[in-house]
């Protein structure tokens, strides 16, 4: 399991692994927002938490279609399936590696991009906290979507269609927490709910994803 995790990290960090693409995408989305809604600071301050959450979510989605497809195409998934590792564990580990290479950088970059959007000072801490709590769920749900579409040629678009509705609860609670904090309100309730969803997803989703992968390998 640990070997798989570090292999995925190494693959993402080596040339051609696509590390940083998600981050760059996040940056571009955030830069484009003022161009589309206008440069008024007050407006940007108001929408900043939501835009940052949406940008992070889309950046997370960007790299999902390669999460399992690469291993599927070069046969590594077949070989892993005959190895002692359980498929549930394989998917969970790959989701964890995805989070470290995509989700974590987004969490760390969010406050910097918050400056660009004139985020209210009280919002930074909770924004980072909510992203840190929410993005693991995004990676794990995404891994489920990737497992569903792994055998499908050009499954990327379908993957988005399947995964985005599943992101709704996480997005709602995450962005709500960030927004409340930015407005000086108490963000505790949405944060707890967000953490609850993430925990439940991390506990249950590997089994769904493993079952799906088993069907696809058949």
């Amino acid at each position: 399991m640990r070997a798989l995790f570090f292999r995925d990290l190494a693959l993402a960090l080596r040339a051609g692994g696509g590390f940083g693409l998600g981050l760059a995408f996040f940056l571009i989305v955030v830069v484009l927002v003022p161009f589309s809604v206008g440069p008024q600071s007050a407006l940007l301050t108001e929408i900043a938490p939501g835009v940052l959450w949406l940008g992070a979510l889309l950046a997370c989605l960007l790299s999902l279609d390669r999460l399992l497809a690469v291993d599927w195409e070069d046969g590594a998934l077949d070989l892993l399936a005959t190895s002692p590792l359980p498929l549930e564990g394989i998917v969970a580990v790959k989701a964890a590696a995805h989070w470290v290479t995509t989700g974590l950088p987004l969490v760390l970059a969010a406050p910097v991009l918050g400056v660009l959007l004139n985020l209210a000072p009280s919002g930074y801490g909770v924004l980072v906290l909510s992203l840190a709590l929410g993005t693991p769920a995004l990676s794990m749900i995404g891994a489920f979507g990737a497992a569903l579409t792994v055998g499908i040629k050009r499954g990327g678009l379908l993957l988005s269609l399947l995964v985005l509705p599943l992101y709704v609860p996480t997005l709602i609670f995450g962005a709500e927490a960030a927004r409340r904090a930015a407005q000086g309100l108490d963000p505790a309730t949405p944060l707890f709910l967000l953490a609850g969803i993430t925990l439940a997803v991390l506990a249950a989703m590997p089994f769904a994803a493993g079952a799906v992968l088993r069907v696809n390998l058949r």
Partner: protein, 250 residues
């Protein structure tokens, strides 16, 4: 004689063809009577004016949008547990009907909301939940379409249906939390004193009956279609196989 006997496609087709005329006729009668009654012979609401007539479409379609998904969930579970092909195909057959029901609920809801709320679309929790349900339906249908092998498709969509159900319920509560909403309380419920008035209630019940019958008729018919498509596929596969076998023998 057990219920599972109808898991056999031939038996299922035979039974479904026997009950379908009744279902279609019942649906036509109920919808005709209910809608005409509701549209022409019920008074306007003192507060909502004539828009109250939209209730005869909005409430039944919304009910059926959820029930269709629920039926798909049950059918998916039956497929996962007992591997009856008809069950998987019934779930597949119900999805587009569910989409139409959801669309009707959304459109009528938006049209109803326009004079009441002064806007076509409000991010009211109920409307929003239906929009999310609509997205789930789209994903479900798209996944069925994308996969070549029918049994793989059945397995994957069944799991998607289970996971989707959990997330749809989660989204419902998330949306409630997110926006308390403009929508009025439930129009129909058993434990509440405050129901819609009787004048609206009876034609509404007839309409709901009509929608249920129409849904059943559509799903049975569509399941039959799916069974036939599957049989065509199987026959053609056998044809090509025996052709290659014969070619080799010769």
């Amino acid at each position: 004689m057990s219920l599972w006997e109808y898991a056999n496609p031939v038996k299922f087709l035979r039974l479904s063809e026997r009950v379908q005329p009744w279902l279609w006729a019942g649906a036509a009668i109920c919808l005709g009577v209910g809608l005409v009654w509701g549209f022409f012979f019920t008074p306007d609401d003192f507060r909502q004016g004539s828009t109250v007539k939209i209730i005869y479409l909005h409430v039944p379609s919304a009910l059926m949008a959820i029930n269709a998904w629920f039926m798909m969930l049950v059918a998916s579970l039956i497929w996962i547990v007992r591997r009856h092909h008809v069950s998987a195909l019934a779930a597949k057959a119900a999805a587009p009907v569910g989409i139409v029901m959801t669309l009707i609920a959304l459109f009528t809801g938006a049209i109803w909301g326009q004079p009441m709320w002064g806007t076509w679309w409000a991010w009211d929790p109920r409307l929003t939940s239906f929009l999310i349900l609509f997205l789930f339906y789209l994903g479900y249908v798209a996944l069925w379409e994308a996969i070549e092998d029918p049994d793989t498709a059945a397995d994957l969509t069944a799991i998607l249906c289970l996971v989707g159900t959990v997330f749809a319920v989660l989204s419902r509560y998330a949306v409630l939390f997110w926006n308390q909403g403009l929508h009025q309380g439930a129009s129909l419920s058993l434990d509440k004193e405050e129901n819609v008035a009787d004048v609206f209630y009876f034609p509404l019940l007839v309409c709901i009956g009509g929608f249920v019958l129409l849904f059943l008729a559509l799903v049975l018919y569509r399941t039959g279609t799916e069974i036939r498509l599957r049989r065509t596929r199987a026959l053609m596969a056998r044809e090509t196989r025996s052709a290659t076998l014969r070619a080799e023998e010769a």
